[in-house]
Amino acid sequence: MEKRHIMDRKIGVYVCECGPNIADALDIDRVIEAVSGMENVAVVERYKLMCSPDGKKYLAEQIKEHGLTHLVVGACSPKQHEATFMAVCEEGGMNPFLMQMANLREQIAWITPDKEKATERAIRHMKAAIRRVRYHAPLEKKEIECNPDVLVIGGGIAGMSAALLLSSPDRKVFLVEKNEELGGMVSRCEKLFPDMVKFFGNFVVTVREKESEPREFKVGAVVVATGADLFDPGALAEYGYGKIKNVVTASELEEMNLKGKIALEDGKEPKSVGIIHCVGRKEKGYCSEVCCRVGIKISRYLKEKIPGASVTQFYQDLCIPGSVAQAFYEETRNAGVEFVCTEAVKLSESDKKIQIDHDGKLATVDMVVLLPAIEAAESTSEISEMLGVKKGKGEFLTEEHEKIGPVTTTVEGVFLAGTVSGPKTVRDTVSQSEAAAGKILSSLVPGRKLETEARTSKISESLCTGCRTCLTVCCYSAIEYDESRGICTVNEVLCKGCGNCAAACPSGAATHQQFTQIQIHREMMEVLR
């Protein structure tokens, strides 16, 4: 049955001259001659510039005139014009996935001056494309209804920023917060750097209050804004946290400050304070970005609330990037806060005070404030499991791409905002939240359907043995194991067509619809001749 279908194919083969680019670099006529007699080839022509308006019109007409079922275009890189020629196919009434391009320009004409070699290779590439294309099956892009509602997990500044930007009459936003109050880490600070202004409390008022009973609801996207935790300095003996009196963390100091009085355990005000940076930095292996500025902010609190107190900062590297942080630091230094660069710090008790050994030198203070590293929150593992977003560097959730995908993830529709994906400032957190909202506003438009990728993978029910190798290699959470049937299936909406599953499947049950074994085999047989 299959054989007969193959023999019905009518392939149109067109070689674009691309001006002098291809025409001068290889002997197009010889290429045409070499492929003319091949099985299923109905017509072979050359054309000056296929991507021009005339060229596209010509091609569409050729499809109709010859009743072509498949198309091969030898021209430039598919990156350049695959979309163009796929559109031409649709113009001509042909399914756009029944077309294959052979790259004669970037991969042949532009890399060798040897016309003979170029022609030989062009013949192979064209034959390979022709051999392959008749095994292409028509694929259809699907349109699915989308649910424009959004779930935001975490009601800190990240969650709230995203929720606010997303909310509109035709979209519901569900904001879920595990604590009783909204605001997260930022609400536990009196002021924020660099301008030392009070936190904008009006956010709390305008966001909806948490529901009290468990509810089930459907959403079209999820924004994960579950924040981060602080490293426990108690794990490191050199800081004496929990053992030496008056050694506190930055958050404990913020709490004291909010309550109204920064004091030692005996109630007196500290006359001298040491602020230790980079607590836990070596153990975590990364720099937590905000602590230097938090330390500077705290020294401002101290100078403001306890004028006359001496404040010394002990740091390894001063991390103050950006257009205003350095001015913030210099102002603070000029106000009398000392900054000491030191590799290692060891605290010990000395006469009811605290002795700071920094690289062998000694300093004595009444109180020490530790700036601990920011680490992944405990909830991160659970969220990772639940949503299929992998944990990565530092055990934080992994964004899709460090540079060009900071808020998206490999799971379509799940976004990250804030410190859940790594330490960052409030400013960058808000950017990310708004970015997640922006991406959602752009893709999940109420009433508009979503188009899915047509070139996805498929798993044959009869060939699948349920070994689940595909599950372990899918980065997009697009494969599910069906317990009742003992097989794996591909979710075509989530599938991005990367082909990992097809490559990994030990029994050939998983295939990529535009890179089937037969298609690849035929292409390789020609190329490797």
Binding site: L463, T465, C475
Partner: protein, 360 residues
């Protein structure tokens, strides 16, 4: 040094282990046992709770008509069995473990009793004259180094090992290899224990001999197949019956790549190829089948030799596959069947994997 529980074997090791199995059934420690028994036709694995039938049990049948791994696949592919005790050779247990990594066996309720194996006789030799048993062996058995569970050859899945080599005649040493095995032996109330020193010595001595023999034999085979021409020659009499694949415990695909349409080209394509190459052998799929099968399963190959036994034209296919398996497994430091926690190479994905490769 481990200690073994001593059981009397005055009527031979098989009878002794059969008695052990009967006790296990009588005490309801297991619901059934999986063990080879002697039949009119030869030897067959049976799944039974019938203690009488166990009188015919043979723990080291001289022939391997079916690989134990395949038996367990048939029994547990669609879900766990009840609690059963299975008596099998090392290569069969390892094959079963490999299959469990592919979700083709479920060994959760399988209690393994392994045996010291001195090899099996090729089926054809057995059919010719059954008394050849114990005298003639499969080529791969002759060079097998994984016939017991000493040192490097320990396999996590084994619960009890029935040691017979280097052990006093009239005795079998039951060595607990897992906490489950220990617990079970305790339940049987066997008092006498003995240290396993002599057994270890005997196994190591035999292993040393086998290692040398294996090196030599595989080097010889490698010589014959290291070139394309060599391969073509060795496989020239292959009749493409695919017996080797059918009996292999690791080959479990519902539709083998070689039976798919992938490699079935059209007349025009074949003629084109013949013209371009000058000549094309018909059929052209022979080497593709063997090399393809090799690349698909050699990482899991346990060198049991079923394939060679099943080959009707006596191609040393088991030895050839063993040569390749040894090398490909070494690249990944992978020992098939040793531990069910050790994932098969090329079947896992870790975000940080690429950096590891880079650094290498």
């Amino acid at each position: 040094m481990k200690e073994g529980y001593v059981i009397k074997a005055t009527e031979g090791a098989s009878k002794a282990v059969a008695e052990l199995l009967k006790s296990l059934l009588e005490k309801n420690i297991f619901e059934a046992v999986l063990v080879p028994v002697r039949t009119n036709e030869g030897y067959n694995y049976v799944l039974t709770e019938n203690t009488d039938l166990l009188n015919k049990a043979e723990i080291m049948p001289p022939v391997m008509s079916v690989q134990g791994g395949k038996v367990l696949q048939a029994l547990t592919r669609h879900g766990k069995s009840g609690k059963i005790a299975a008596v099998m050779r090392m290569c069969e247990i390892r094959a079963a473990v490999e299959l469990s990594k592919l979700e083709q066996t479920d060994l959760e309720n399988v209690f393994f009793i392994s045996v010291d194996c001195n090899g099996v006789i090729p089926l054809s030799d057995y059919l010719e004259d059954p008394s050849n048993a114990g005298k003639k062996f499969r080529p791969l058995c002759k060079i097998c180094t994984s016939f017991s569970v000493v040192g490097d050859e320990e396999v996590e899945a084994v619960d009890i090992h029935a040691a017979t080599m280097g052990v006093d005649k009239g005795q079998v040493l039951l060595i607990p290899m897992s906490p489950d095995g220990e617990e079970t032996l305790e339940k049987l109330g066997i008092d006498e224990k003995q240290d396993t020193g002599n057994w270890v010595k005997e196994i190591e001595k035999l292993r040393k001999q086998r290692i040398a023999a294996r090196e030599k034999a595989l080097a010889e085979i490698k010589e014959t197949v290291k070139t394309l021409n060599g391969l073509l020659e060795v496989f020239s009499r292959c009749i493409e019956c695919h017996n080797c694949r059918s009996v292999c415990p690791i080959c479990y695909c519902r539709l083998c790549f070689s039976d798919k349409e992938t490699f079935r080209e059209t007349g025009g394509e074949y003629l084109d190829r013949a013209q371009a190459q000058g000549v094309m052998k018909c059929t052209d799929e022979l080497l593709q089948f063997h090399l393809g099968r090799m690349s698909h399963m050699s990482l899991s190959c346990v060198s049991c030799g079923m394939c060679e036994d099943a080959c009707p034209v006596d191609i040393p296919v088991g030895q050839i596959f063993s040569v390749v398996a040894e090398q490909s497994q070494a690249i990944f430091d992978y020992v098939p069947g040793k531990s069910s926690d050790e994932a098969q190479p090329l079947r896992t994905f870790e975000l940080d994997e690429l950096t590891e490769v880079e650094d290498k």
